[in-house]
Symmetry: C2
Subunit: 193 residues, 2 copies
């Protein structure tokens, strides 16, 4: 199967620093041309499912503009330009919760929108988390830090208390990794990310 | 915790039928005003994890513009204006695979982007699927239909062969539902969706 080819691209909306939209002219494998394939550029982001030394999952209850009421959420945020995903994950965990973690496992990286891009989400499991500082989040939203047991987390997933797609995906990736034991961490690995 | 309030909105990009961008003026609970909160409007969509009468998972291997190489994918597509999510799910399953399913379980609905919207994904588990027609997909991409065992599906998830966030989320929601038995279907329910 052949990839589509980008013939040309042009910025059609330069929004604030979180959003740019391009128009791409695209060629399909059979030679057809699509002149108006629109491509969304938003920052890549990380989500971190962090588990404390006492086997509690660090989660927030928070408001978000796209969500009715409150939602549960894992740690997460946008990557800075040029930042490495693991570095961003560690920074967000420390900033948002004041915790650092002993063992980090990558859970995969996924395009948000198969057609239009809209950034890539990088997901991590962080174990052995312990509090070393006060949180200093610069988020605009109100949020409350919760320490959930695995049972409480699984119940929250079943009730759709994680209302945003990357958040529920991150939690499920972490649970899948914990269940299958497929969570070899960087702690014991000499391979760079 | 209080929601943010939308004070005013204005279309700043009227793209093709798949994309509109608005600029919102937003008021935070503490009274601060954000004048440039950008809001992405793309169609809501469905993803369907369909299992045949022989316990095989219907998946595609396909190319997508935002994906390098090929990715595995569940059935899915955009909802038509005014279409009900379950109706869209049944339509997409039939169009893309020629299958219909006996039992449908909703797996939840999730905002794609907690900040900017970008549509809502509706996820379903469909069991007892059997082929009743030829597929007649209008998708532009090349794709190949696969019938995976549960083991093959779980291995594919572990290898990140589902490269797009809603797709891996849909598969994990379905596996979670199957594992917990939390999959009461519409088949036996008299409650409307």
């Amino acid at each position: 199967m052949d990839q589509w080819k980008t013939i040309s691209k042009k910025v059609i909306l330069q929004g604030n620093r979180f959003l740019t939209v391009e128009n791409h002219t695209v060629e399909l494998p059979d030679g057809r041309i699509i002149p108006d394939w629109q491509w969304i550029i938003t920052p890549d982001f990380v989500n971190v499912v962090a588990i404390t030394e006492n086997e509690r999952f660090l989660c927030f209850r928070q408001t978000k503009y796209a969500v009715r009421g409150t939602s549960l959420a894992p740690v997460g945020g946008y990557m800075e330009p040029g930042e490495d995903p693991l570095q961003a994950a560690k920074r967000e965990l420390l900033e948002e919760t004041g915790y650092e973690a002993a063992a980090w496992t990558p859970l995969g990286s996924f395009s948000v929108d198969a057609n239009r891009g809209a950034g890539v989400g990088h997901f991590f499991l962080a174990r052995g988390a312990r509090r070393i500082a006060e949180p200093k989040s610069d988020d605009l939203e109100e949020q409350e830090l919760l320490l959930l047991s695995r049972k409480e987390l699984e119940d929250a997933v079943a009730k759709s208390d994680f209302k945003v797609l990357p958040w529920v995906a991150g939690i499920l990736l972490a649970l899948q990794s914990l269940s299958t034991g497929n969570n070899r961490s960087f702690e014991k690995s000499t391979r760079p990310i």
